[in-house]
Symmetry: C2
Subunit: 220 residues, 2 copies
């Protein structure tokens, strides 16, 4: 397979994360869309688990989810996006903005990441675990993930720039966000490595240690 770089125009529209259930009942059409989205993703996850990511063509996912292949691509611009859908960035950003403005930036970042991670994990623990496992094991997904985290870094940078009054492309800011994301990524992978069942507490502890290392200036 390959992974060209398509327009990459995420829908990013109204279709809410299928993990939160707002009490307001959307129209029948909307509900069907959410159902279809879930069906595709669930089917995909099941097949990936059974026979592997690469060995699972989109056509098969479509067939077993009982939709046409075109529909799959309408919901997920790329096969990778079936795994990597994350609307987490706005969540992180919002959480970060709610931190007291006088708080030191790294602390604010740490706390924001803490609560974001907790919320993401609690939304669907099993699926989150499987997702991270897939990301770690499938090179294409890892690549796409890091690609995405570059955007996250940019977002964090903007937020930090606002806080500190520095320019958005300030080198020190770039370094800080790059280092934090790099460290956190390792913590994540380390988390899924520790046995099969990572718990939220484990994750918190790992993140704490990771950020601790950063704050101590990478001393061992």
């Amino acid at each position: 397979m390959r992974c060209m770089a398509p327009a990459r125009t995420e829908p990013a529209d109204d279709t809410a994360a299928d993990t939160d259930l707002p009490p307001a009942k959307p129209s029948l059409r909307e509900r069907k869309k959410i159902q279809t989205r879930q069906a595709i993703r669930r089917t995909a996850y099941r097949l990936f688990e059974k026979q592997g990511y690469d060995a699972t063509p989109v056509d098969q996912i479509a067939e077993e989810a009982e939709v046409s292949p075109s529909t799959v691509f309408r919901y997920f611009p790329t096969k990778e996006d079936i795994v990597l859908t994350d609307e987490y960035d706005p969540l992180i950003e919002e959480t970060l903005r709610q931190r007291p403005p006088n708080e030191p930036p790294v602390t604010a970042l740490r706390e924001a990441l803490y609560s974001s991670i907790a919320r993401i994990y609690q939304a669907d623990a099993a699926e989150t675990l499987q997702r991270i496992r897939l990301i770690r094991e499938v090179p294409a997904l890892r690549g796409r993930m890091s690609e995405h985290s570059a955007e996250t870094a940019w977002l964090l940078r903007r937020a930090l720039a606002e806080r500190t009054g520095r320019a958005e492309d300030d080198l020190e800011l770039r370094i800080v966000t790059g280092a934090m994301l790099g460290a956190l990524m390792e913590a994540m992978y380390s988390w899924v490595d520790t046995g099969t069942a990572g718990t939220l507490e484990d994750l918190r502890a790992l993140v704490t240690r990771a950020l601790g290392v950063l704050e101590r200036g990478l001393t061992l």
Copy 2:
């Protein structure tokens, strides 16, 4: 296009980097292989520059380089690899091993990275610049690059583990390498951002500042 995850079995064999010219004259066959490799890459870079990465099909590269499409894929397992060939990891590793063993790990890493970067840059400055520019601008390449730097991180980790006597999968070690690579990546991007002509001195300065931020515990 897409980017599945093929066997990813890099040739990684004898074909030396086309940048260094060892005095020993290899056989005619070997020389032809190197020529072909260079021809493909040069043609590709020229076309990428002219019409963009995504807008340049492999078939066109093959045609203009006067080889068959199959040959292109024989030399570079994926289109991305035409840009991302780097045999730098062994270089970094060797340089790192040559540092005095009693040197503090982060210092050793810094010095090893310094000289490696300098050597890579000096081998072919123009091409290096164009490569980094491409990596920054093409999402697929960025993704693949970070994927690769995960391997580099692993390599660094092993070297550090040796030095410090820690386990290879030690969390702190992962954090340190992850953070350093994250920070260095940002420094690189920042380097190509500053005007069109990044100089080696600029790069050194950026790396110094980046590692300085890390050593100060991400204080701004």
